[in-house]
Structures are given as structure tokens and as C-alpha cells.
């Protein structure tokens, strides 16, 4: 039994969660067009795909499961915790992917050169890794605290700390927790280790979220 419907997953998705990323996307497009020069365009493009997209993804993820008006009815159906988690996070990841890819296409069309970020794989890992990390963090925080606000607060806190002290994050053992290394210091020698560590951290967050989701009484 599949117990899944893409049609209804989309129909029950809150529209404000589409306006939110769309508004950011439009803002960065307008900003790029207004401040049009080669260096600025690259900085705006990488700030959007590697810093803003993960933040938006993390905040949206905090609301993904708990902000469901029919959560009690859903919990009373025989769908597995893993399916709830997957259904809700994958949609947010897809929205962020579409946003990032659309912006990359737009940036390429106006002549932005992403070469400083490395090859195509490095370019995409530079936004995929922080986006997955922030989504995992957001959803984990919300489920751990049984409140959407806790998840979005945690995402905001980590995001602002890492952006402010980004130079300090690139050294010592902090470098493994530096979410924006791929986009802000792509030449870092430990970039691969950093990305593996962040993937592992994301998997851990998602695993504990899955475990916590079995305790449905915390969320109704």
C-alpha cells in the first residue's frame, strides 16, 4: 500500500510557504539587476544560493510537520513516521532546489561566472549541503521542542552565528560544522571532510527526528 498522493500533498501544502521562498528569490533577482556589476553579481548569487536558500529551507522545515491542521487525524492513520518525515521534507527540498537552480540559470544568463566555486559538482554541493543541513536542523529542532518556533529559532541562531563568525568557523575543529564553507571559502583544503561531516550531521538529525516522531502524543 502506497498511502501517498502527490496531488493531495501539494493541495494541502500551505501556500504561504511558497510565497516566502518566491519573495526571497524575487528580491535577490531585483538586487542583482539593480547592482549590476560582475563581482557584485557573483557575490549576490552565491549569497542567495548558498546562504539564503539554506536559511529559508531550514525555517520552512521547522513548520513542515507540526504546522498541519489535520495532524491528529494523520497520526491515527497507519502511515509510518518515516513517510511523514520524507513527504514533508522532500517537498521543501524540491522547492529550495527549484529556487536555487532557477537563480543559477538566471545568474548564468546575465553572465555570472561561478568558476571561483569550482566545477559544476562543487557549485551544486555548495548549496545542497548547507540546505540539507539547515532543513535537517530545522525539522529536528521543531520536533525535539515539539514547537515550530524552536526549530526556526535554532535555524536562525545557527545561521546568524555562522555568518558573523565565518572566519573563526573555518579553523580548528569548527571547520567540520561550518555550514557555509562550500560557498564562502570554496578553496578550503578540508572542504570534502566538511561536506561529509555535514551530511553525517544531517543524517543524524533526521534519524533522531524519525525516532522522536514515534512519540506522537508530544505533537497533538
Amino acid at each position: 500500500m502506497k498511502r501517498f498522493s502527490l496531488k493531495y500533498t501539494l493541495l494541502t501544502y500551505r501556500l504561504d510557504q511558497l510565497w516566502f521562498p518566491l519573495a526571497f528569490w524575487a528580491f535577490f533577482v531585483i538586487l542583482t539587476l539593480l547592482l549590476s556589476n560582475e563581482e557584485q553579481d557573483f557575490n549576490i548569487a552565491r549569497a542567495y544560493i548558498g546562504v539564503a536558500v539554506p536559511l529559508i529551507g531550514g525555517i520552512m522545515a521547522a513548520y513542515a510537520i507540526l504546522d498541519d491542521p489535520a495532524i491528529e487525524l494523520r497520526f491515527a492513520t497507519p502511515i509510518r513516521a518515516a513517510q511523514i518525515l520524507f513527504e514533508r521534507t522532500i517537498l521543501i527540498f524540491i522547492i529550495q532546489t527549484v529556487s536555487a537552480l532557477a537563480f543559477i540559470v538566471f545568474a548564468l544568463l546575465i553572465g555570472v561566472d561561478f568558476a571561483p566555486l569550482g566545477n559544476a559538482l562543487n557549485l551544486h554541493l555548495a548549496w545542497i549541503v548547507p540546505t540539507i543541513t539547515m532543513i535537517a536542523l530545522g525539522i529536528f529542532g521543531a520536533i525535539l521542542g515539539a514547537q515550530t518556533m524552536i526549530g526556526s529559532f535554532l535555524v536562525g541562531l545557527v545561521w546568524i552565528i555562522e555568518v558573523i563568525i565565518r572566519d573563526g568557523m573555518a579553523v580548528n575543529n569548527w571547520k567540520y560544522a561550518y555550514i557555509f564553507m562550500g560557498i564562502l571559502t570554496p578553496e578550503h583544503p578540508d572542504l570534502v571532510s566538511n561536506q561529509i561531516a555535514l551530511f553525517a550531521a544531517s543524517a543524524t538529525f533526521l534519524f533522531f527526528t524519525w525516532l522522536l516522531l514515534h512519540r506522537q502524543e508530544r505533537y497533538i
Binding site: 500500500m1 501517498f4 497520526f75
Partner: protein
């Protein structure tokens, strides 16, 4: 069908521990079963445990042979369950038909032809066929409840759990809803939780009264009435004086000769004009609550 032994549920820890359920033993068979109790008695916790949403702190629950304290058991029970929660949240941007269809998919009805047929059937059953394509956000409270019962029935559940289903409904809607539940109970277990005594009296032959997490009574409405015989009086008093002597006023009516009181208590010895009266289910409920409060005070 449902066997519950020494069921406990506690929230919090240390000084802040709340015993929502305290050693509940029940056996529930096919038909309509009523769970009656005041607000805060533990009814919703009990219903949520039976729906597999809340984990018990102790005791055992077996539903149709499945152990509800295990993940596998919960999954099996949820597959045969219809649940209408007290606070019914829905996707109000969907139409009634879409909502019930979505819930049917979540419950595992994959075959679209069979599912569409079943969705139409249950919407017909609850009298919403004509408005099936209207968005739920435009529905009245009663219509939303009916959508709720339609989604609960869509998988043809062996067990139907309805928590305070008539709260907020007008008298006509309540009667309609009660009749619908009685019809459904012909071939399944229907668990009706409510604090409205009349709803139980009109529908259930088997009931339990829950207060402060404990079962105070288990039996039929007739048994409950028998247990109250000799404890209900009618008394008419003139002037401003009101009955006392540990008697609870169940109802009062202003008449030309004074105020007529319906009283429940251990004894009306202080009032020579008090006349013993046949108890109703509401009197029986008040008597049970009164006894339980006295027990608490003595202990």
C-alpha cells in the same frame, strides 16, 4: 474485542505528575459503548491511547488480538480504526470529497475505483453528497463533524472512536448524529466519549463512567439507574430557602406554590416533604460523581 488491563497514563514528573488514567480495567465488545465523564476525567487521553496516538505509561491493551503497546500492534490497530477526535482539524481548502478521498489514501485504499465508490457511499451516509464538491471552509460546525465521521468511516473500520462528537451541534444535528452512530454500531465497535449524559442514555446499552482517571461505574444504563434508586427526591420549597443537607440540586423549576427542586444525595431526612422519585440517567451520573468526591474527601 478490546481488552484493557490496569491501564495507566501519567504526564510530567516529580511533584508535577498528573495521573490522567489510573488503573483502568475494561472489556469492550461489539456494539455501542459509551464513556461518560466530566471534563478533565481522562476520556480524551483514553481515546487517544485506543487510537494508537498516545502511549500508555503502564498496563496492557489488546485490540482484536493486537498489542497496542507495540509499534506493530499500533500499526495493525490503526489499519482497522476510524477516529474522530474532539478537536477536529481539517484541510479546509479541500472539498469534502477531496478530504475524505485523501484520508482514504492515507488509510491505504489504493484502488481508485473502489475508493471513489466508497467515498461517495460515506458522504451519502452522512448526508453530504449534495455538497461534496464544496470547500470545507464554507461548512457549518455540524457539517464539518459529518465530514469528520465520513473520513472515519471511509476504510470501513472495525472500531470507530468518536470523542465528544456532539459538542457544539444544535439539537437536530445531535439527534441525527446519534442515530447515525447507533446504525454504525450494528456491525462494529463504536466508542462514544462524551460529557453529555443524554447522548449516552439515548444510544448505549453498555457504558463506563470515568472520573479523575478511574472507572467509577461499568454496566448498562439500567444498572446505573438501579444503583441510584433511593437517592433522588423531589422537594417543593417556598420563600428564599434552598435545600442543603449535602443534597445536590440537579434541576429546579419555579412554580406558583414555590420552587420545585430535584435533589440527589444519600438522605433527605431533613425534609419531611421530600418525595422519593425515579432516577434518570443524569441523576445517576450526579450520584456517582458525588460518591466519588466523598470518597476522595474521606481518603
Amino acid at each position: 474485542m478490546i481488552q484493557i488491563t490496569n491501564l495507566t497514563k501519567t504526564y510530567g514528573a516529580g511533584n508535577k505528575t498528573v495521573h490522567a488514567l489510573n488503573g483502568v480495567d475494561l472489556q469492550i465488545n461489539s456494539g455501542m459503548f459509551g464513556l461518560l465523564g466530566p471534563n478533565g476525567a481522562g476520556k480524551t487521553t483514553f481515546m487517544r491511547i485506543l487510537a494508537g496516538i498516545v502511549n500508555p505509561s503502564g498496563g496492557s491493551i489488546r485490540v482484536d488480538g493486537h498489542d497496542l503497546t507495540t509499534e506493530a500492534g499500533k500499526h495493525a490497530v490503526k489499519s482497522m480504526l476510524g477516529y474522530l477526535p474532539q478537536e477536529l482539524g481539517m484541510y479546509t481548502e479541500l472539498s469534502a470529497e477531496q478530504f475524505v478521498d485523501y484520508m482514504a489514501i492515507l488509510k491505504g485504499l489504493d484502488d481508485s475505483k473502489k475508493r471513489n465508490k466508497r467515498v461517495s457511499e460515506v458522504l451519502e451516509m452522512v448526508g453530504l453528497r449534495e455538497v461534496a464538491n464544496r470547500k470545507i471552509k464554507g461548512f457549518s460546525g455540524g457539517m464539518k463533524r459529518r465530514v469528520g465521521i465520513a473520513q472515519a468511516l471511509v476504510n470501513d473500520p472495525k472500531i470507530l472512536i468518536v470523542d465528544e462528537p456532539t459538542a457544539g451541534l444544535d439539537p437536530e444535528e445531535r439527534i441525527r448524529f446519534r442515530n447515525l452512530l447507533v446504525n454504525l454500531a450494528a456491525d462494529r465497535v463504536v466508542l462514544l466519549s462524551t460529557h453529555i449524559v443524554e447522548d449516552i442514555g439515548q444510544t448505549c446499552r453498555d457504558l463506563a463512567v470515568l472520573a479523575k482517571g478511574r472507572i467509577l461505574f461499568r454496566g448498562s444504563p439500567t444498572d446505573m439507574l438501579k444503583a441510584t434508586e433511593g437517592h433522588v427526591w423531589s422537594l417543593t420549597m417556598s420563600g428564599l430557602e434552598k435545600p442543603n443537607h449535602d443534597l445536590t440540586v440537579v434541576s429546579m423549576l419555579h412554580l406558583a406554590e414555590g420552587t420545585q427542586y430535584r435533589l440527589v444525595g444519600a438522605s433527605a431526612e431533613g425534609y419531611s416533604s421530600a418525595q422519593l422519585t425515579q432516577p434518570g440517567l443524569e441523576d445517576a451520573y450526579v450520584w456517582l460523581m458525588k460518591q466519588s468526591q466523598e470518597e476522595v474527601m474521606l481518603s
